[in-house]
């Protein structure tokens, strides 16, 4: 049977992808950002998951304002990296485990999570930057080491789904994966954050104390973390910080007891606090 082995929380700042794509990761500005992922890349090689279930948000790339699904599951055979306005990232096409994805889609709806099914979709930095930071440089002619099932969460138009809803969805995703009759190691990623505000006069807001408390809660008291109201994210972690609700999907899919294998936090990457955590299920 398929199983969830570990969870990864990870920012997906577009400038991190640009830094990798333009080969400037050794510059003093970027070096500390990437230093924190060195251990993660070794760990990824050791873990070598068959499939990554990637919870991320689309940044008005695959979805414009005409259609705004709260949860959209990628069920296509593959997903092309999108042109987000400055050309597509030079990274491989993202390939799906299509059979598992369609099983999860079917299972989730019967489990009363009425997701949208995407049979055509381009993917943006929200999905490809976490792959890049965890795997290192992988060129467009190569392949990502794992298959990837994308789950897009609306965090652009208020309100995003509640933390509780995301947490419960994580549990349903786990139920679906554990009922899939193929021997697969599946890793789940929750991406986005941490504190940041990209817009208007309060742009640049960073709240490291709040971010640290969030990380601690996600590890040790995930139910309480999932109850944080939207207004707290908006006020304390910045208007774009609300995307951290996606971490609760990841956390909900793990055991209540987890082992924190690695944590990394750095300010700034462009406008954003970079946060990263690796959690293994405690057996």
């Amino acid at each position: 049977m398929a199983r969830i082995t570990a969870g990864v929380g990870c920012s997906h700042v577009p400038a991190i992808g640009v830094a990798m794509d333009t080969g400037i990761t050794d510059q003093p500005y970027w070096q500390p950002v990437f230093e924190g992922f060195r251990k993660s890349r070794v760990w990824m090689k050791e873990q070598n998951p068959d499939v990554i279930f990637m919870v991320y948000n689309d940044h008005c790339t695959a979805f414009d304002a005409s259609c705004i699904p709260t949860f959209a599951l990628g069920c296509a055979a593959e997903f092309q990296p999108a042109d987000e306005g400055w050309g597509p990232r030079p990274v491989p096409v993202v390939k799906n485990h299509q059979k598992l994805a369609s099983h999860i889609a079917q299972s989730l709806v019967l489990d009363e999570f009425d997701i949208t099914i995407m049979n055509e979709m381009e993917v943006d930095h929200g999905l490809t930057v976490p792959l890049s930071v965890m795997y290192g440089d992988v060129g467009p002619g190569e392949e990502w080491p794992a298959l990837v099932i994308p789950l897009c969460v609306n965090v652009v138009q208020y309100p995003a789904p509640t933390g509780n809803r995301c947490f419960q969805l994580g549990k349903a995703i786990r139920r679906a994966i554990e009922n899939f009759d193929e021997d697969l190691d599946v890793m789940i990623f929750g991406t986005g954050g941490m504190s940041h505000q990209l817009q208007y006069k309060r742009a640049g807001l960073i709240n490291p104390e709040w971010d640290m408390r969030f990380l601690d809660m996600v590890v040790d008291d995930p139910v309480a973390a999932s109850q944080i109201p939207h207004v707290e994210y908006l006020r304390e972690a910045g208007s774009e910080g609300v995307e951290m609700v996606m971490w609760h999907v990841m956390r909900g899919a793990l055991n209540h007891e987890v082992t924190e294998v690695h944590r990394h936090y750095h300010v700034p990457a462009s406008n954003t606090a970079v946060g990263h955590i690796i959690l293994e299920n405690r057996i």
Binding site: A65, L198, Q199, K201, I206, L234, V267, S270
Partner: protein, 138 residues
């Protein structure tokens, strides 16, 4: 464990955050055509067409006169006031060669270098920036 479901009301508990527009259903409705214009610039062919004839290109989008003016004048904060969302307006900025960080430098009125320096020093602190009552303006 399920939380007690709150009955949604018309109250907006996020309207007292200073220097911030929460892109909710009301703003989304108001900014729809503006945002659809911005997102069209994701594609090179559309960027070329817009850059060749901005006014002609904008005629395809039934936005308000105020929104149209703000686009043509690149009034970044005005675009947000009129229902624009940063993930959309950033496409217009990208077309002009302005990245997220430099756009923030413009929106905050700090200028690009001062804003970049603030971020390097740890960003804008939360103290004094939680409530509109803590700001003299806004």
């Amino acid at each position: 464990m399920h939380q007690e479901v709150q009955i949604p009301t018309m109250e907006k508990d996020y309207e007292d955050i200073p220097g911030t527009f929460v892109f909710d259903a009301d703003r989304s409705r108001e900014g729809y055509h503006l945002n659809q214009f911005c997102i069209s610039l994701r594609l090179q062919a559309n960027r070329d067409a817009f850059n060749a004839d901005e006014k002609g290109y904008l005629d395809k989008y039934p936005m308000s006169c105020e929104q149209r003016e703000a686009v043509l004048k690149r009034e970044w904060n005005r675009l947000l006031e009129l229902g624009g969302n940063i993930y959309y307006t950033s496409k217009l900025a990208a077309n002009d060669g302005i990245n997220f960080q430099n756009l923030a430098g413009l929106m905050t009125g700090m200028g690009v270098q001062a804003y970049r320096d603030m971020m390097l020093a740890g960003g804008r602190a939360i103290e004094g920036n939680r409530y509109k009552s803590e700001w003299e303006e806004d």
